[in-house]
Amino acid sequence: MASSSDSSTPRGEAWVWFSGLGLIIGLGMVVGLLALVLMNGATVFWAPPVPVAQVDDGRVLIGQLAQRRIRAGSPADQPRYERQYQVGLRELNGNSYLWIDEAKIKGETFPADVLGLERVENGPAFVRPQTLRKSDGKIIPATDAAFEAAFQAEVAAAAAVREKLIDITRHRIGDVNAAMDQARVALRRAEDLKITDEVAALQKEIAQLDGRFASLQEEAKQVVAGGAVASLVSQDAAGREVVVPLTQVIRAWFPNRLDTWGRVNLFASRLGEFIFDEPREANTEGGLMPAIFGTLVMTVFMSLLVTPFGVITAIYLREYAQQGPVLRIVRISVNNLAGVPSIVFGVFGLGFFVYVLGGSIDQLFFADQLKYNNNTPVFGTGGLLWCSLTLALMTLPVVIVATEEALAAVPRGMREASLATGASKWQTIRDILLPASAPGILTGVILAMARGAGEVAPLMLVGVVKLAPSLPFDGSAPFLHLDRKFMHLGFHVYDLGFQSPDSDAARPMVFATTLLLIVLVVCLNLGAIWIRNRLRARFKGASF
């Protein structure tokens, strides 16, 4: 007897649609986030044409269009817009950015002679060049046909001079200063302990270093004086004269003359600078190399710390510990550790790792240094080691749980076969169980890395700074400096967004930095996933 409910649609079909909808919403959110960040971030590097705008109160301004929004308080049916222009020349205009009511703009033109400059100090500038004074003294007016070529040549030459100067002052003088500091500390210690021949030797060394310092300074002066510096004389929007020595110029471009290929080139060049150069202007300009590097080093070091701890703990919990109420409590505690807010870990890291452990290490191993170096702590303050340890502690439960699951998933037959061959429990774990569960363990490490790379709050307490004088991993022994403070992308975002003096200048960088952070984490994950796939292929038959 066929009834109306006897249809051939399987039951529960509606739930399939629901779950599909959920997936779409989730994916949509992720894609939306990425698109938002991408759009806002990428526009930082793009160079559109720059207008010369006439405002109805007689002002003229030259600037790149940054934002456009609805004026506050404008009626809903007839919205009024305002525009933000990046005009640069902060030293003259007070502010790099300017909001203008759109209705007040009478007209815009795009003259071909508008020049954009990225400068070492005081941010960008948009000017109309008048004359170029070359380093050999010749003067070329802007209207001259050879102007652009000569100009770019001079900019390149000036950049070379600047590079040389940086090499002398920052790197070589920096090295001499560091050596001198060490020698002075040793001298004070030798004097204190009254080791006379060492005192004499150190004093001679300091004298030598002084000499080198003086000669380096001479060299620097010569470089500066040697080439007479070229400069550019231009007019700003208001007609004031602006003289820019070309050593100040990082990049120059004619925004209204570029074709698409030129703009793409410029985009690539800026992107490269962003990733590989060091920051300037309180982190609002320049590149993020130290922050990228610091994030990478810390994440990798954290993974190297958390993996053995997590794996060994999981092995003990699953294989050796007595099953019973105590074990259950331990397991619950480990799982709860995953829910503790990250800032709490930061406080723990500060209190225990930095003050207690770090202080003890300083007392035991660096007592001399403290005494003779104005009590500057080595490990008693935040640094790479404490940051990595804190985050390792935070991500430990993830690794423990993943390892336990992977171990449990190894088929019982394999374990029995190994034991029946006469292997001890440890041999079974080492030779059979661990290799078979390696893909699962790596999954846990991937999750831990992803979580650790994104946490910022605890890091602020235990060793991340806005601007670090040196990288935590460099060419000087012992190569990995566990005591140094470092820069971190996540902290950079926070710092830019909330702590920078010029919030308008910082805004585009916030998005760009966020984008970079996402890309970095994705790359780390992809690397780990690739390793895991290789392991899976080798141990096909493993269930993870």
């Binding site: 099953q323 394999m414 029995e416 076969a417 190994s418 061959t421 001890s424 038959g541």
Partner: protein, 274 residues
């Protein structure tokens, strides 16, 4: 037709008849052995002697305790919590429960093959030599020679000699089980325990493994648990029939299957059980 009248000879090696092969009569001696899982009594007063270089089959319906008894011979049941035993099992005169005896050394002298073949996710070579590595052998030449010997004894050498470094998981079911046998005999144990080794295999693979058992009995003492009476009849020299944890009858295979003493045995082998 002439095949029926003139079948060619089968065995690769000369296997002596049971009486000629038999060594020490009480090589494995089980005396009044009782076994408990917690409160449940799984084995009740089992007493039997397994002579050297004989194949002994344990048969009986499901749950009769044959696998439990087998797993006690290499103390694999120690892995289960809450177990208890009475009586004793001795191998070559020494009790396996002797406190001075390390379980690990017992298991190195008693190899085991399981119902579901369980090769490690490693290469074929590494699987076979695992037992040797476990006892500390490192010399590559020694390992390679032992690998070849074991694989030849397990009738697998010709099939895998060119791909020793390939993953063991790429073999067929029958090949995997022979690999497990090779692994179990690599360290030259004296005794080989087999827990329903062919139950997951097709008749051809099963036949190959039975041929293997027939050859191995020239060197090893073999105890095999099987739910197939026909297999026990084909392969074993002596058979023990168990029911509900008790030993019902233990005698030569011919006696058990042609003219058993106990009525229960007769009922089981003629299929009139239950």
């Amino acid at each position: 037709m002439s095949q029926i009248m003139n079948p060619p000879s089968s065995s690769r090696i000369k296997v002596r008849p049971a009486a000629e092969r038999e060594g020490r009569k009480d090589y494995i001696s089980i005396r009044d052995f009782g076994f408990y899982y917690g409160a449940k009594k799984a084995l009740d007063a089992i007493s039997l002697d397994i002579p050297e270089r004989q194949v002994v089959a344990f048969i009986g319906p499901s749950g009769c305790g044959k696998s439990t008894l087998l797993r006690n011979l290499n103390r694999m049941n120690d892995l289960v919590d809450g177990i208890r035993h009475e009586g004793d099992i001795t191998i070559n005169g020494r009790s396996i429960y002797d406190p001075g005896l390390e379980v690990i050394s017992l298991r190195r002298r008693v190899g085991m093959v399981f119902q579901k073949s369980n090769p490690f996710p490693k290469s074929i070579f590494e699987n076979v030599v695992y037992a040797l590595r476990v006892v500390g052998v490192r010399d590559r030449a020694v390992l390679e020679e032992a690998c070849e010997t074991s694989l030849r004894k397990a009738a697998l050498w010709d099939e895998v000699k060119d791909r020793l470094n390939d993953s063991a998981l790429g073999l067929s079911g029958g090949q995997m089980q022979r690999l497990c046998i090779a692994r179990a005999i690599a360290n030259r144990p004296e005794i080989l325990l087999m827990d329903e080794p062919c139950s997951a295999l097709d008749p051809i693979a099963t036949g190959k493994i039975e041929e293997l058992i027939h050859e191995l009995k020239e060197q090893f003492t073999i105890v095999i648990v099987t739910h197939s009476m026909q297999q026990a009849a084909r392969v074993s020299d002596r058979t023990a029939f168990f029911y509900l944890g008790k030993q019902i009858e233990y005698d030569t295979t011919e006696k058990i299957f042609m003219n058993p003493t106990q009525a229960q045995t007769e009922a089981y082998i003629s299929g009139r059980f239950g």
